[in-house]
Point group: C2
Chain length 486, copies 2
């Protein structure tokens, strides 16, 4: 269960002052709360590519090198998508006899060759893109919505979203799809449930309007998501065999999108948000649940990432790991099933740039960046309410000579860089410098997939458009280098 832009601090058990996630809180009591669980990139597309490949975006190609350290994703102008060469988790599981379904946002490319059914999924209900729009279908087409490998409509036309009132019943459809899929399986299954209603502009179905004491669309949407997860877990719990044999991991693709102010979540005490390599952008709410295997009411401070799901699930399902490629994926079985600690390194990337590394209790920033000052001055702020001198920088700032060091337990909010002349700094400096050099030396970048854009590839003629008479005239192809502002 991968949320969209949900923040670490949105979970009641992570201290949200209004505590409106009772089902997720209960899930954490039945399972394991992971406090130090990370994404692989502070933006949707690369985060999702990393989750499904078990590899850093720098390897699987979900980055740009049009310009250094810039966040990039898959808008409908994007030419690229997930490479045919990548092996996705559902492909691995398919070989082990699993039935795979994605419900929600795909975001790994929308051209035919990138669609989910080409990459190991048997079923797809959702969209390849965010619910942006509405568009005029002349300059920009409305985003296509899919059932399996065919479009069945477009956002704002067939999939209704009232953008002004933040209303849509799409999440309810996603909940129903999930429950139906789980209920009707006769074989092992992998469900990738990834609703995007928490991504601004957030939306909730009518019965949830005004439900939250937050008195915001985001708050209402969070309650709808939480209740949906409760219903899905209940479906699993009702069936003993499912309850004993289903591993559920709940997390988010990146930190709360603070740039959207009150139409966004909270990163609690963590610094900044989505788009940044500070903890607020990278650290995620995370709960692991498997009643027969994961000890209830446990908490793990194990630093781990969404990429670890790949190897962990390979282990759980006895699926052989591909041996022709490098992975950035640790087997979390000892963590989940025995609450043990394992040695991990967390690599914080932004685009093609390795920005920071966490090892043990320390995190070292080799580069810092929020967004360019010109952009900041126009009101685009990834760190509203936050300012840390020399850390929340508005230029891409090089600290490779003397990385900025933080203790992640003493100072998870990254307020107090450890003095460069302290013993503590000296005791770990060399280790981090070595980790940085080693990682860069050993990591062979994959071909960047997010460099090229072209208005001709937009959702003019998605597969299946003829059958429902929704094809649109395609403009002339004019590829251009995508512009990535942050």
């Amino acid at each position: 269960m991968l949320m969209d832009d949900m923040g670490w601090g949105d979970l009641g058990v992570n201290g949200d002052p209004v505590r409106e996630t009772p089902n997720l809180d209960a899930m954490s009591v039945e399972g394991m709360l992971l406090t130090d669980f990370y994404t692989a990139n502070p933006l949707c597309s690369p985060s999702r590519a990393a989750l499904l490949t078990g590899r850093l975006p720098i390897r699987n190609g979900f980055y740009t090198d049009n310009i250094d350290a810039r966040n990039s994703y898959t808008p409908q102008e994007i030419v690229g998508g997930i490479s045919q060469w990548e092996i996705l988790l559902p492909e691995l599981l398919q070989k082990s006899g699993y039935r795979n379904k994605i419900v929600g946002k795909w975001h790994l490319g929308h051209q035919s060759q990138y669609l989910p059914l080409r990459h190991g999924f048997h079923e797809f209900f959702g969209s390849t893109n965010c619910h942006f729009g509405p568009y005029d279908n002349i300059n920009t087409p409305n985003i296509a919505f899919f059932r399996n490998d065919r479009m069945i409509g477009r956002y704002f036309e067939n999939i209704k979203i009232n953008k002004d009132k933040h209303i849509s019943d799409l999440t309810q459809q996603y909940i129903t799809e999930a429950i139906d899929f789980i209920t009707n399986q006769s074989q092992p299954f992998f469900l990738y449930w990834t609703p995007d209603s928490l991504h601004a502009p957030t939306f909730r179905s009518s019965p949830y309007v005004g439900r939250s004491v937050k008195n915001s669309s985001y708050g209402d949407t969070l309650i709808e998501i939480d209740e949906g997860i409760g219903r899905i877990l209940d479906t699993i719990k009702k069936n003993d065999s499912l309850a004993n044999n289903t591993f559920v991991l709940f997390t988010s693709d990146n930190g709360a999108a603070l740039v959207s102010t009150t139409d966004a979540g909270s990163n609690g005490p963590l610094l900044c948000g989505k788009q940044t390599t500070f903890e607020g952008g990278f650290r995620e709410p995370a709960i692991a649940w498997w009643p027969s295997k994961i000890p209830p009411n446990t908490l793990s401070k194990q630093p781990a990432t969404i990429m670890d799901l790949f190897r962990t699930i390979a282990t759980i399902t006895d699926s052989p790991m591909p041996e022709d490629r490098e992975f950035d994926s640790y087997d979390l079985s000892p963590v989940l099933f025995k609450n043990q600690k394992i040695d991990t390194n967390i690599y914080y990337y932004r685009g093609n740039q390795l920005m920071a590394i966490r090892n043990g209790n320390y995190k070292a920033h080799f580069w810092t960046f929020t967004n360019p000052i010109e952009q900041y001055k126009t009101g685009i702020n990834f760190c509203p309410g936050n300012f840390v001198k020399n850390i929340t920088t508005h230029t891409l700032t090089d600290h490779t000579f003397r990385p900025k060091l933080f203790h992640m337990n003493r100072d998870p909010g990254e307020r107090y860089p450890i003095s460069e002349i302290s013993k503590e700094y000296k005791s770990v400096f060399q280790k981090f410098s070595n980790l940085y050099k080693e990682h860069i030396d050993k990591t062979k970048p994959g071909k960047p997939q997010l460099n090229w854009c072209d208005r001709a590839v937009m959702h003019w003629i998605p597969p299946g458009c003829e059958a429902i008479n929704m094809c649109l005239p395609v403009p002339q192809s004019k590829p251009y280098k995508c512009f990535w502002p942050h």
Copy 2:
């Protein structure tokens, strides 16, 4: 149980990422967690005066008007203290047959007339002041430590504190005093347990050194406090009669002292810290516990303050409220025992200045201030990591014409002022303006107690010094107006 400088975000159940308060977390599961519980002033002395009198510092005199909106307290140069005219909670309870003891920091004045046994307490074990020092006993005397109305030694001499290593066994002594007092009571009792080890420089007893994954003295100290509270509650729980008849409230005197950086706690997602009227300075960790009366595992978002304890305890103990004075104290019985909501206003004062008001879900800042820019430039920062334009101001800024409005559930971190041209703003503007005017019109300030200082009143000759041969020569009296920098 009143902590010193503990922050809202330090509780595991309030989302501290390392969760090292298992006893307090368990206490909240056995009782009620209060998420919107406030102090009356963001500094020790006035907060404590408000707690014990049920009245705002502007009424009970614990403020200065040497200069507007300045935080003031009771250093050992202070001439003033708690007024003889004030009626303290232990005085009220004494009349109802209670035995009263304070263990820990008093902070309501150290001259004879201000000592706890003159104001309703039967027993005192602790100090009148913070554990600052060591001093040379020539220019400045070391702080006296008391048993009842006599000094029994001085900090750093008889009460050992290793300041460099942050070690002292004082908290253990406070735990033992509390347990002995509770165990040996044959009559109803009021214990005011207020250890100050979480106030920088923090200290913990030797067995706790290195215990915290925070790897800091603050972290270790928090664990020691948490375990101490666990032991005190166990003492109560072991005895059925006590367990059924004891009301325990746990909270803190003000927000985490972020100015002390890593030797301080966390205010979680809240803005700024101690000394400020932002949520990080004013909102406190709070748990109410009474197994037979308070429903277990409940959460209340009731806005309330430490002053409410006065009327609440008067109700619980059937003690008549004094009728010759104004109180700022609501009876929380319906909240605690029935989880009902009551209408309250929270007044955020800084010195003599009403800075902000909370009513329902909204908070309006009529004035904003962190600390003077000259001071800020020297490194004194009450808001490390935080910056909100026009809100975290470095001059005392007047917004009385257009108060800065925040929604406390949607935006507890005070990042996003509600637009002054919005319907939402207009719908509550008049109410807040009226509340502000009414409060100022109706509130008659008491005589300020914290205006005058004099080196002659320092701890040269505390009561009892002769008996233990610890009197020091008293310099000539030279009263001067105290300087309050923030």
